[in-house]
């Protein structure tokens, strides 16, 4: 009785504390481009929902603003010689929003939930390689994998790998997605899917002195111009993405900063290597020589991109730099003639997206290919068509995709997820996204070997060989690496768009 009274009083005091500080008014509004799909990070597949979920959830590991791996709820880890068993020491003195202590049992509960296919979570795939999770004592947890996977710590750092309160999981069950309870700097307040998601400062947050603002209002605003207007009126302090055509308007405002951040979003043109004429390496080389990447950056991306200098973009662990392709029309024509197409050929160019930038890119590519005699018919695929014609097309032999404009960012910040889903031979659609239908025993073997070794130098050597092989085989015409354009009020500090288009806002603060 006494304890519950005390509890009631303390929660009232806590509530008053929250509302008291809210009056002081460090409230930040962040305008983002689309509605959030879920507040359960294990069931989220869009970068945005995962970024926003970081308000209330933290993982064992995480990424800093430059996508460098950092420990968060874990302090350190050890891996045994077999590469199968990872033992993690956990941070002490961390509390969940529901008042319970963060201990190994919650880690176990979170990952047991994710690895159980009966829960039908969208991120099951990412964690299905965990055989079991054990709580050794309160602050030690041990993961045993089904097979060695040297990128495992990156996998834990992925924004979906959040630690959920065990008590809350037991209380809410499947409804945990509507009642997020984590250890993050902000507590969940209210979610009105059409309007906003509101989070407020968690006073018992383990990092002393943080967070420095009282609340964040995440506001999905679909229209680009409207988001820009909100920045100008001061209704929002942060917005992402900023469309290229609006950037100049916002740059003129003295109280706003427009920032072009480096990204790991690579855009490329894949060529179906199981079909004529793209089975011929000379044709693929000719396509690569036909395209002027510098002009593409200017025309379609208003300068906010850089010509692709590799298969895996800079910023992803183990990526290797190459010299970008330079346009050479004469050479391209010569290669086509040698391949038996002196007068070029007709083909189709599909774009995986139908937004304005993709339209500009496709038209530009069409015109560039035309110069060397390749007549490409452009088709902009809407999401449903893309799924039907490309991503879930079952038969590799008859796959209708030829030239395919698409992009990728490796959400684990690591080379395996940047290459395997796109170029391993077991990643052909409908399994994953090897739309070039590329198959190389050397690359396959390298990708497997890299996962078995935990030695950094050895891994770097293997990934270098794999990327050199890919650059030589040309299953793609790599095009550009995008820059991420965002705007913020000068008073807002400590908010960054990370290279994978997620947000980093641990140090968020609003100056007076």
């Amino acid at each position: 009785m006494k304890i519950s009274q005390l509890w009631a009083i303390s929660s009232i005091v806590l509530a008053m504390g929250v509302s008291g500080t809210a009056l002081a008014g460090k409230d930040v509004t962040m305008a983002v481009a689309s509605t959030f799909t879920t507040m359960d990070p294990y069931d989220a597949n869009d970068t945005l929902s995962q970024a926003v979920d970081k308000s209330f959830y933290e993982g064992l590991f995480g990424f800093d603003k430059d996508m460098k791996l950092i420990p968060v709820l874990a302090l350190s880890y050890e891996v045994d010689s077999s590469g199968l068993v990872y033992t993690l020491k956990l941070r002490k003195g961390v509390k969940f929003h529901d008042g319970t202590d963060f201990k190994a049992d919650s880690v176990k509960a979170s990952f047991d939930r994710a690895t159980n296919p009966a829960n039908k979570l969208k991120r099951y795939n990412l964690y299905k390689n965990i055989a079991k999770t054990e709580a050794i004592d309160d602050d030690t947890v041990r993961f045993t994998l089904k097979e060695p996977f040297s990128a495992f710590i990156n996998q834990l750092a992925h924004p979906s790998g959040a630690i959920i309160s065990k008590a809350a999981l037991e209380k809410y069950g499947k409804d945990i997605m509507f009642h997020p309870v984590g250890t993050g700097a902000f507590k969940f307040v209210e979610w009105k899917p059409t309007d906003y998601l509101k989070v407020a400062k968690f006073d018992a947050y383990w990092k002393k002195g943080y967070p420095k603002v009282d609340s964040i209002l995440w506001r999905p605003v679909v229209d680009n111009n409207t988001r820009a207007a909100m920045m100008q009126t001061g209704e929002a302090q942060f917005t992402f993405p900023v469309p290229y055509e609006v950037a100049d308007v916002l740059k003129k405002k003295s109280d706003l900063d427009v920032i072009a951040a480096p990204s790991i979003v690579v855009r490329y043109l894949s060529m179906n290597m199981r079909q004529k004429p793209f089975d011929n390496p000379k044709v693929r080389e000719a396509v690569n020589y036909a395209i002027n990447r510098d002009a593409l950056v200017k025309v379609a991306f208003s300068g906010y991109a850089i010509p692709a200098d590799g298969i895996v973009p800079d910023g992803v662990d183990y990526s290797v730099r190459f010299t970008p392709w330079k346009q050479d029309i004469a050479k391209a024509k010569k290669l086509l003639a040698e391949a038996g197409y002196p007068n070029g050929f007709e083909t189709e160019l599909w774009s995986a997206y139908n937004h304005t930038t993709a339209q500009k890119v496709s038209q530009f590519l069409q015109q560039q290919l035309q110069q060397v005699g390749i007549k490409a018919k452009v088709v902009m695929l809407e999401a449903g068509q893309r799924v039907e014609r490309v991503e879930s097309y079952a038969d590799a032999k008859t796959a209708p995709v030829r030239l395919y404009y698409v992009g990728w960012s490796s959400s684990t910040g690591e080379a395996d997820w940047a290459i395997s889903p796109l170029l391993a031979s077991d990643a052909w659609p409908p399994r994953l996204f090897n739309t070039a239908y590329y198959k190389s025993d050397k690359v396959d073997a390298g990708l497997k070997a890299a996962l078995l070794t935990t030695d950094r130098a050895e891994k770097a050597r293997i990934y270098r060989e794999v990327q050199e092989e890919l650059w030589k085989d040309m299953p793609w015409a790599p095009l550009v690496v995008e820059k991420l354009l965002y705007a913020k009020n000068k008073k807002l500090q400590g908010v960054y768009v990370m290279p994978d288009a997620s947000f980093h806002f641990d140090e968020i603060d609003l100056m007076p």
Partner: protein, 306 residues
């Protein structure tokens, strides 16, 4: 009269059932696998299968159909494939903002539109007519989203009088309802004008004038009432369209309404939401038609209901 209304309401049920069947069939004909779309760009086939089971899309079509019909009859539309919230609450959250926006747009559009129409008809081919019809033509031809953006730029960004997004206070309603109502006002103006001009040439107007009634009374009492019938029809139609949520205006003002829900649902092939929305729109149209029919009788007592 009451009997007529009840009869019409009963007639609603088979219509809605037919709509439900057609909607179900059409939606499942759309290309693209919703499980694949919901599972997201990084998913493997195993994940897609899990999602398919989770969403109940692995069941045979006949079973899905039976479930949909039984659910619909019980008022249960299932859960959104995207957010996993009940479809009924997804729609309920957005219905009122769209409804009130529609009402306010219609109110000002009808008042302005009819006033301009009457003035133009009475002063036909003189400057009030030219001015009114210029306004009307620009109202029809200026796209709503562009008008919305211009209004926002002037009144929110430059003057800072009104907020840009949200639907929390009466101030939030001003700009979107102007943007949304402009086209309706223009259509109403042109309709009222032409209908009024027809009526002004009728015999009974000449008779009214001949018996020495003042012009004001001729127009307000004899002409207006008779000119209203086609205008009311138009009003009903426009109201029905607006209730479906204006996609462009809702996008510009980030209005938490049905139009955006519809777009999101189509993009993600969110079958349950799409089905419920189409049913709702059909129901709205049928009800509005009924109201319009009843209004006819009130405007023109010679109309009989059977």
């Amino acid at each position: 009269m009451l009997q007529y209304v009840i009869k019409r309401l009963l007639g609603l049920i088979p219509t809605l059932l037919i709509v439900a069947v057609l909607v179900f069939l059409f939606i499942h004909l759309l290309p693209g696998d919703p499980a694949r779309l919901a599972a997201g760009p990084e998913a493997t086939p195993e994940t897609v299968d899990l999602v398919r089971q989770d969403l109940g899309l692995d069941r045979p079509m006949s079973e899905q159909f039976a479930r949909f019909i039984v659910g619909t009859v019980h008022g249960d539309f299932g859960k959104s494939l995207r957010t996993k919230r009940p479809v009924s609450s997804e729609i309920a959250d957005r219905f009122m903002p769209t409804f009130w926006l529609t009402v306010w747009s219609m109110v000002w559009a009808v008042i302005f539109g009819m006033a301009i129409g009457v003035v133009s008809a009475v002063w036909r081919n003189r400057w009030p007519d030219h001015l009114g019809m210029t306004l009307a033509v620009s109202g029809i031809s200026f796209p709503a989203f562009a008008l919305g953006m211009v209004l926002m730029q002037i009144f929110a960004v430059k003057l800072n009088w009104l907020p840009t997004v949200g639907a929390d206070s009466w101030k939030h309603y001003i700009l979107p309802s102007i943007a949304l109502g402009a086209a309706v006002a223009a259509i109403m103006a042109r309709f009222t004008r032409s209908s009024f001009i027809d009526i002004l040439g009728e015999d009974f107007i000449r008779t009214a004038r001949a018996k020495g009634l003042p012009e004001k009374s001729v127009i307000a009492k004899h002409a207006l009432r008779n000119a209203l019938t086609p205008v009311v029809t138009m009003m009903g139609l426009q109201f029905g369209f607006l209730l479906g949520g204006s996609i462009v205006v809702e996008k510009v003002f980030n209005w938490p309404g049905l139009g955006r829900l519809l777009i999101d649902a189509v993009d993600m092939r969110d079958y349950p939401v799409l089905q419920a929305l189409v049913l709702l729109f059909s129901l709205e149209f049928i009800l509005i038609n009924l109201v319009v029919d009843v209004l006819y009788g009130w405007i023109n007592p010679t109309i009989r209901y059977r």
